[in-house]
Amino acid sequence: MSSTSQKHKDFVAEPMGEKTVMALAGIGQVLGTRLEEKGFDKAYVVLGQFLVLKKDEELFRDWLKDTCMANSKQQNDCFSCLKEWCDAFL
């Protein structure tokens, strides 16, 4: 937990509602745009992908890498962010 960013804390603090994909930890402007181009324009759509992969870390990270070319740290941040959000709200 020592390395979670403010973005992470903000995201997991409340239901994501209609937040954009760039609200996800690890997803900045560049990755966000790439995801939007692929149709993942809202955080909940990425959540959908996360869930359909059964919250599997390896698969989700692979998917992020393939979809928006996220690097290892970005994959990690996004995964932990979503995972924690699910633990709290799902």
Binding site: Q49, V52, L53, K54, D56, L59, D62, D66
Partner: protein
């Protein structure tokens, strides 16, 4: 220790098993993964013990990649083969008892003990059949395992046999492994 079994049976049966295995694996790799249906991918994933979610558009490519990796590491599904052999391992004890009628009850007991899960071997109900037939059948399934029994000096095999009934072992002329 000399094995009285004709070596030929082992090699031919073993190669038969091998051919079966390779045929089995090639069945799965014949088509490229992308040509397979979602259900086939799902079946393959299960066959490789890969836990997976639904195979949908967004997940398919990921699972195909995973399958390719798994196939490279283990082209034949090794674990199922191992299970197969292990089941057969029980059956071999049955063979050695098989010569006389009075052994019948024993063979039954061994069979029941060893083959609770192998319904496919139910045909081996005829205890009074000649030794050779039974032997072959078991050998067909897993000659490798028979070899293993020999290599271990029938060690583990012997343990099993001796716990069952030492006297029977002495009287049964079929115990080739002893030599």
């Amino acid at each position: 220790m000399n094995l009285k079994f004709p070596a030929g049976i082992f090699s031919s049966c073993f190669s038969h098993t091998l051919k079966f295995s390779t045929a089995f694996s090639s069945f799965f790799t014949e088509m490229s993964l992308s040509e397979k249906s979602d259900e086939e991918i799902s079946t393959l994933l299960t066959a490789y013990d890969i836990k997976h979610g639904p195979i949908v558009d967004s997940t398919r490519k990921l699972y195909e990649k995973k399958l390719e990796k798994a196939m490279e590491n283990a082209p034949v599904k090794a674990s199922s083969d191992k299970t197969y052999y292990r089941e057969e391992e029980e059956e071999i004890t049955y063979i050695t008892y098989h010569s006389a009628d009075r052994h019948e009850g024993y063979a039954d007991m061994l069979k029941r003990r060893g083959n609770a899960e192998t319904d496919e071997d139910e045909e081996s109900d005829q205890d009074t059949e000649p030794a050779i037939k039974m032997t072959n059948r078991a050998a067909n399934h897993s000659a490798v395992r028979s070899k293993e029994a020999v290599r271990k000096s029938g060690g583990s095999m012997w343990k099993r046999l001796t716990t069952v009934e030492p006297k029977m072992i002495k009287t049964c002329g079929l115990i080739h492994f002893r030599k």
